[in-house]
């Protein structure tokens, strides 16, 4: 099934040289889009598990290049960039991710005799839900609070990585970077020409043409 595209033809990156992007923004976005697609911190098996988890937390459509979510988690771990606080029941984020990913593998093997990334999507979702609600048994989790790991890291880190990416901004019709130009039309149903138009059912072709002029 192809999902409905609410903002067809909109590409926030077209505004790169418009007054909505300053030099600092271009610098940051170039780095984000250029993230290496290979693991630099995680091991191969941890990486495979993580890629499969990311695919379930944010399933992405096949008709566009995917946002490389696992690469952003790996990058965050490599830099050891933290959020500024940690629930005292969790170990530091690198250890949390490594223990957690290994535990997913152990659980997958125990339940299905296969690596997590070889399970069906239904089996993967089922296992994710068990971890989410803390219904787990593998000793591999050790002291790691599985439910907390799920909410703070699996959901927290992966979802934040997705909505930091321009591809997701196109999808939700977010104007994206806006400095120095900002916005002019503040009231409901008023659109600045550098904001996308939303397409109702059947309007995709016409709106797509309009959105290609958004810049």
């Amino acid at each position: 099934m192809t999902e409905r595209n609410r903002y067809p033809g909109y590409d926030v990156l077209v505004k790169r040289h418009s007054p909505s992007w300053n030099e600092a923004t271009r610098r940051v976005m170039d780095a984000r889009l250029g993230v290496p697609r290979e693991p630099r911190f995680l091991s191969r098996i941890e990486w495979d598990t993580l890629v499969a988890i990311c695919d379930r937390i944010i399933p992405q459509p096949k008709n566009r290049p995917p946002v490389p979510l696992a690469a952003y988690i790996d990058q965050k771990l490599k830099a050891d960039a933290r959020n500024g606080f940690r629930n005292a029941a969790l170990p530091p984020q690198r250890a949390a991710w490594q223990i957690g990913l290994a535990a997913f593998e152990v659980e997958a093997h125990q339940l299905h005799g296969k690596a997590f990334h070889h399970l069906t999507t239904a089996q993967q979702d089922d296992l994710l839900r068990r971890v989410e609600s803390g219904r787990i048994d593998a000793p591999a989790w050790g002291d790691l609070d599985a439910a907390l790991f799920f909410s703070e890291h699996i959901m927290g880190d992966i979802i934040a990585a997705y909505y930091a990416h321009p591809t997701s901004w196109n999808e939700i019709g977010f104007g994206g970077p806006a400095s120095p130009r900002g916005y002019v039309r503040m009231r409901n149903n008023r659109r600045d020409p550098w904001e996308p138009v939303e397409a109702g059912p059947g309007e995709e072709a016409r709106v797509g043409r309009e959105n290609r002029r958004v810049r």
Binding site: R6, S20, W21, N22, E23, A24, T25, R27, V28, M29, R32, R56, I57, I58, P59, A81, R82, N83, G84, F85, R86, N87, A88, A89, P92, D125, E132, S151, M155, G156, I159, A160, Y162, Y163, A164, S168, W169, E171, I172, G173, F174, G175, G176, P177, A178, S179, P180, R181, G182, Y183, V184, R185, M186, R187, N188, N189, R191, E195, E198
Partner: protein, 549 residues
């Protein structure tokens, strides 16, 4: 080459960044480390900024230390949520208790200018009775201050920050006209207004610290809506573009990327300087007076980390209250969807407000709250949605598709002070080898009652104007206070009304941590007003000889 302010200090060699001109510099006085300066101020935020400016303007030699970088907003600030986490205090802190706080992006900054560099600019005054809430309203603790005096300093803070607000504000005693006209409201803010009217409550444009017309080198706000991750145009009147430049012009020095690890005390038991880490090494700066303004986590942490044989429980802590009575504010929200194209991210996030329940006492819990319109950016929004509604997978992506139709109301509510909500030192250490903070927080019955009341009220007001698919964000808090409370005597407080510590006469604490109660409005304007008052009190005490006592 991009000169990275996070790795190399910028305020050096007799000059500091000119935040208004790309690549520009302003001259900066520098003081030798071995000669004692009149004042060292630790932290350059809502409290530290005004102190630096006022003390320098009165002719004192003063140095402002900040652990964070000296940003040039025009050049360093991307329009991007993720990379702008460079503004936050991201060194580890442990959180626990029944309702662990979220820190980082949610609670504290690290930069010259402090948290005002990323705050949402909402600039409100306390309700006068809150300064005497124990006596007049029957809860919390009294402040040793007179509200009329605070009213005078609020007015001065509003002028200094060119607050843009309405011609007449609906609540509280008369106040002067706001210096700048109120900002135009956006679609999301209009929903608050219509909802309030439907309930018979008053509403107002929110007084904001971003200019609605040019001011000096600040252009007027362009409604880009990235305020909470730093304003790249300098419309926002943060301390970085207001008090800090004033301080420099008056002869203050700023030491950026300078983490103070310890306040030194001499044989007589007086503060005599600070040990700080800068450029990869520890240094010592001698001082005649030390003022701590590091906010409600770092201030108690520093005082506790500065323990000596004489002050075994940390400095200024004979009462045992340093780190105690930590308060946050409840920040719950109700969100929903409209058919209209709203695009709530346009403009500052909280353009309208109702303080109805701050000034109405017909309720069955203590304390007050206000609510404001909302406009979160995508990363923050996805975190609120996914954690509150336990959404992930296709269901999350589908709901995120409504981003441009979303509206919401968010409370800022007064949580009551409790002894056991506190900051202590953990066993873990940070990159400087200093023990990190453990932050313990649990909501109490009164807090929970207020939250439920507010959620019900906000929900009803959205229902009345036809917002659909409503849901509640039940678990969010923001802003900090307490941990070094001011009071009437040395047994029950850490500092006196002048923010001077009871134990060490030349050690002051002047930031959000001195609040005995936190009120139902955002705290910064009160912190700034208090700092302006403290600067005046210091000058008076110096004149009358009280300083030497």
């Amino acid at each position: 080459m991009y000169d990275n302010p996070l790795t190399t200090p910028r305020a050096t060699h007799g000059r500091a960044p000119d935040v208004f001109h790309p690549g520009g510099w302003v001259p900066m006085r520098e003081y030798p480390q071995r000669e004692a300066v009149d004042f060292v101020v630790i932290g350059t935020g809502a409290g530290g900024g005004p102190l630096l400016a006022r003390l320098a303007e009165r002719g004192y030699s003063v140095i402002g230390f900040d652990a964070g970088p000296y940003f040039r907003p025009l050049e360093d600030f991307a329009s991007d949520e993720t990379s702008q986490s460079q503004l936050f205090w991201t060194d580890e802190r442990l959180v626990d208790g029944a309702n662990p706080l979220k820190m980082g992006a949610n609670n504290s900054g690290r930069a010259v200018g402090g948290s005002t560099v990323h705050y949402a600019m909402v600039s409100l005054r306390f309700r006068p009775e809150w300064f005497r809430s124990r006596t007049l309203l029957g809860y919390g603790a009294d402040w040793p201050l007179d509200w009329r005096e605070m009213w005078h300093y609020y007015a001065r803070a509003e002028r200094d920050l060119a607050i843009a607000g309405p011609v007449s504000y609906p609540w509280g005693p008369k106040r002067p006209r706001y210096p700048y006209r109120a900002h135009e409201i956006n679609g999301a803010a209009e929903v608050l207004a219509r909802g309030a009217e439907a309930m018979g409550y008053q509403w107002s444009e929110t007084p904001l610290a971003t200019v609605s017309a040019p001011r000096g080198d600040s252009p007027s706000c362009v409604y880009r809506g990235f305020c909470r991750v730093g304003c790249a145009t300098n419309a926002k009147q943060s301390q970085l573009v207001t008090y800090i430049p004033r301080a420099l012009a008056a002869g203050a020095e700023i030491r950026d990327m300078a983490m103070v690890g310890r306040i030194a005390v001499d044989a007589a038991g007086r503060a005599c300087g600070v040990h700080y880490h800068r450029n990869g090494a520890w240094h010592f700066q001698a001082a005649r007076n030390v003022i701590v303004a590091g906010y409600a986590i770092e201030t108690p942490r520093l005082l506790l980390n500065s323990a000596t044989d004489r002050f075994r429980n940390g400095l200024a802590n004979s009462s045992g209250l340093v780190g105690r009575y930590l308060m946050t504010q409840s920040n719950q929200a109700v969100y929903g969807v409209m058919d209209d194209m709203v695009r709530w991210n346009k403009g500052p996030p909280s353009l309208t407000i109702t303080e109805h329940w701050n000034y109405n006492d017909r309720k069955d819990f203590h304390g007050g709250y206000c609510w404001m319109a909302q406009g979160p950016l995508p990363v923050e929004w996805s975190a609120a949605m996914s954690t509150s509604r336990r959404l992930w997978g296709a269901a999350l992506r589908e709901k995120m598709g409504d981003y441009n139709h979303q509206v919401g109301l968010k409370m800022v509510g007064e949580m009551l002070p409790h002894l056991d909500n506190r900051v202590t030192l953990a066993d873990e250490t940070d990159r400087y080898g200093l023990p990190i903070a453990r932050v313990t927080y649990s909501w109490h019955d009164n807090d929970k009652a207020m939250i439920q009341h507010a959620l019900g009220e906000m929900q009803r007001s959205l229902e009345l104007v036809g917002v659909r698919d409503l849901w509640r964000q039940e678990n969010d808090t923001n802003h900090l206070a307490g941990t070094a409370r001011m009071g009437f005597d040395r047994e029950t407080s850490v500092v006196d009304a002048d923010c001077r510590s009871w134990d060490i006469p030349n050690l002051w604490i002047c930031d959000g941590s001195v609040f005995p109660t936190t009120g139902g409005v955002n705290p910064s304007l009160t912190i700034t007003a208090l700092a302006l008052r403290t600067a005046d009190r210091i000058c008076v005490q110096a004149r009358t000889g009280e300083m030497r006592k």
